[in-house]
């Protein structure tokens, strides 16, 4: 079972076969999706009709509209990017503050507040969306009905989506940054004070650089999670549809290789972001 304990040969063979099957299982759906983004046929299925970039570039003249000319998808992409940007900013800021709060300060009720902080992880995403919809949108409805005040920010739309996603992404960001802060040797801060730095300078010159990899990691994760989120988002979205919701609506109408093209684009984007975050954290680890 471990290297130093002998195993029989057929057990080894079986184990390796299992591993291989597992990674095929992992790779297959994504590979297939990516490949069919280039199939010269109106449906993403066999037989293979040859290579084309139509599903990216076609301008609609030949009956095909490629991704780069599909205004609905492009605007959805932009909406998603805006949402993800704000979610990242808010979640990482909250994550930093929370990490310092829970790792550095002592106060009464800390254990209890820490459990509250973990709570969003054990609430299904749908419920997070529903509860925020019921409270804020309900509040906007009541305000309009009772006092004629229009609270449009609390109607389904970008603000609510950002709020809904921040609810659980902030917890994840906190966990990532707190884990790094926990490994910080507080003597380093004392050393900085000892060498003449004020507490604020010590924080910015010693502690923050130490946290930087985790902040980048948390930001990349927050961006990806926001971009890919469906369950919370779909409850809260208004007229400007984010990409996952737009794709879902498209998919229900029937699949076209344009969906594959978007999917591949997303995969490449995510992979780049992940590699960047990974590279950053490796540099300074």
């Amino acid at each position: 079972m471990i290297r130093s304990v002998p195993r029989s040969r057929w057990f080894d063979g079986l184990y390796l076969a299992y591993l291989a099957a597992f990674f095929v299982y992992l790779a297959l759906p994504l590979t297939v999706t990516a490949v069919f983004a280039f199939n010269d046929a109106p449906f993403p299925s066999l037989p293979w009709k040859g290579f084309t970039l139509d599903w990216y570039l076609a301008d609609g003249s030949g009956g095909r509209t490629g991704l780069f000319h599909d205004d609905t998808l492009l605007s959805a992409l932009w909406v998603s990017t805006k949402i993800a940007f704000w979610v990242t900013v808010v979640s990482v800021t909250l994550g930093c503050a929370n990490a310092v709060l829970f790792e550095r300060l002592e106060f009464r009720g800390k254990e209890f507040l820490y459990l509250l902080m973990l709570l969003p992880l054990v609430i299904p995403g749908v419920i997070l969306g529903v509860s925020i919809l019921v409270f804020y949108s309900g509040m906007a409805n009541d305000a309009s009905r009772l006092w004629g005040v229009e609270l449009d920010v609390f109607r389904p739309g970008m603000t609510l989506v950002v709020m809904g996603q921040v609810t659980f992404i902030a917890t994840l960001a906190t966990l990532v940054i707190a884990a790094r802060l926990r490994k910080f040797d507080r003597q380093l801060e004392e050393a900085a004070l000892n060498l003449g730095a004020t507490p604020v300078v010590a924080w910015f010159t010693v502690t923050l650089p130490w946290l930087m990899p985790s902040i980048f990691g948390a930001a990349a994760m927050a961006f990806l999670m926001s971009f890919e989120n469906f369950n919370t988002t779909v409850m809260l979205t208004g007229s400007d549809t984010p990409l996952t919701v737009a794709l879902f609506n498209r998919l229900r109408e029937g699949s076209t290789p344009v969906l594959n093209a978007v999917a591949l684009l997303l995969m490449v984007g995510s992979a780049l972001l992940a590699v960047m975050a990974l590279g950053r954290s490796r540099d300074s680890a």
């Binding site: 004392e190 050393a191 900085a192 004070l193 000892n194 060498l195 003449g196 010693v206 650089p209 130490w210």
Partner: protein, 364 residues
């Protein structure tokens, strides 16, 4: 000496709850001294050091550095630098940036910073290492970088918190000597805390032995070894044998004891005489014990003992013997003069009473 010394503390007290970790400690360290504070773990030496660095505040007493009162000065304004126990080199910075950190805080221009960094690296024997990452250095090199990071600021006082603790034995021996040389070369006043008596003895000009928040004795290493002022110092500094008996007579500074098996031995009183009849301890160093009976001088004290083991350790080889239930160690000279001894053989252990010290137990 006095308040104008590099470090002068009077009656420092730091309490945690009802327990005083530092209990009325006074010390006076003249410029250029290598001053060690030696004590077992939990004796309050780290607390004392943190008071000096400014990470903690005394409940009573004053800290003066070159005549200036430091009690209310925050750590970043004190002319004091510290080498931390685990060195605390900034992992996110190169060696050069680590050393330049304090200079940058003093707003030293970049060009001057570079020359001073290069110079101090040369002085600690690491020329041209500016761009290395602290993680790539060996234990000894990291030690030197930590030292350089402080020395480049030319502090009045350098505090060292057991910095050699993490090194392996051989490197520790080497660094001990190197630290002493560096201290002499820079002329900076060092305050060094350690629980390792050999570090304190080898490097220091003055050693303070600390126990339960107080200084038992402050003296140069040799005096500490030869003239321990308290039974704790006698037992803690260097190896020592302890014999317990009843004080029967005092003659000048020599005390006569009756051990439990009835044998009479003598030693020099370590402090004012306890009353006759009191139980007292006699400390005698292994190297002061002489083996064999023939060449015994008449004024020596002697004990019969039986060999339980010979412990060969090169120049530190020892004989373990049992005398009426008390275990004694004697140094075995390795120049061929020592008799060959088998286990269980009878042996006579004798000593010059002037080299033995007698204390009432628990005397401070």
């Amino acid at each position: 000496m006095g308040i104008e010394s590099d470090l002068f503390c009077s009656n420092l007290v730091r309490r945690f709850g009802s327990n005083a970790a530092v209990d009325h400690v006074s010390l006076d360290v003249p410029a250029g001294t290598f001053f060690s504070i030696l004590g077992p773990s939990g004796c309050g030496k780290t607390t004392l050091l943190r008071l000096l660095a400014g990470f903690d505040r005394p409940d009573e007493g004053d800290i003066h550095i070159r005549g200036a009162r430091m009690n209310d000065v925050p750590p970043n304004r004190r002319p004091v630098n510290m080498v931390f126990q685990h060195l605390a080199l900034f992992p996110t910075m190169s060696v050069g940036d680590n050393i330049g950190y304090g200079l940058k805080r003093q707003k030293v221009p970049a060009a001057e910073r570079r020359t001073r960094i290069a110079r101090v690296l040369e002085q600690v024997g690491l020329p041209g290492m500016e761009n290395r990452n602290p993680g790539e250095l060996s234990g000894g090199q990291r030690q030197r970088v930590a030292l350089a990071r402080c020395l480049v600021l030319e502090p009045t006082l350098l505090l060292l918190d057991e910095p050699l603790g993490a090194l392996d034995l051989k490197l520790r021996e080497q660094m001990k000597i190197e630290l002493k040389h560096l201290q002499k070369a820079f002329g900076t006043t060092f305050v060094y805390i350690t629980h390792d008596q050999s570090e304190a003895m080898v490097m220091s000009d003055q050693v303070a032995v600390m126990k339960d928040g107080r200084f038992d004795q402050v003296a140069p290493p040799e005096e500490l070894y030869r003239e321990p002022a308290t039974p704790f110092v006698a037992g803690f500094v260097g190896d020592n044998n302890r014999l317990t008996g009843e004080l029967v007579a005092v003659q000048d500074e020599l005390a006569e004891l009756r051990l439990d098996d009835g044998s009479m031995v003598r030693g020099r009183l370590g402090q004012s005489s306890p009353p006759i009849g009191e139980r007292v301890d006699l400390f005698i160093r292994p190297e002061s014990l002489v083996l064999g009976g023939d060449a015994l001088r008449p004024d020596y004290s002697a004990l019969r003992a039986s060999v339980t083991a010979t412990l060969f350790d090169g120049a530190n080889s020892r004989l373990e013997a049992d005398s009426a239930g008390q275990t004694l160690y004697a140094r075995l000279p390795q120049d061929g003069s020592a008799p060959r001894l088998r286990e269980g053989a009878g042996v006579q252990l004798a000593w010059d009473p002037m080299l033995a010290r007698v204390f009432a137990p628990g005397a401070a």
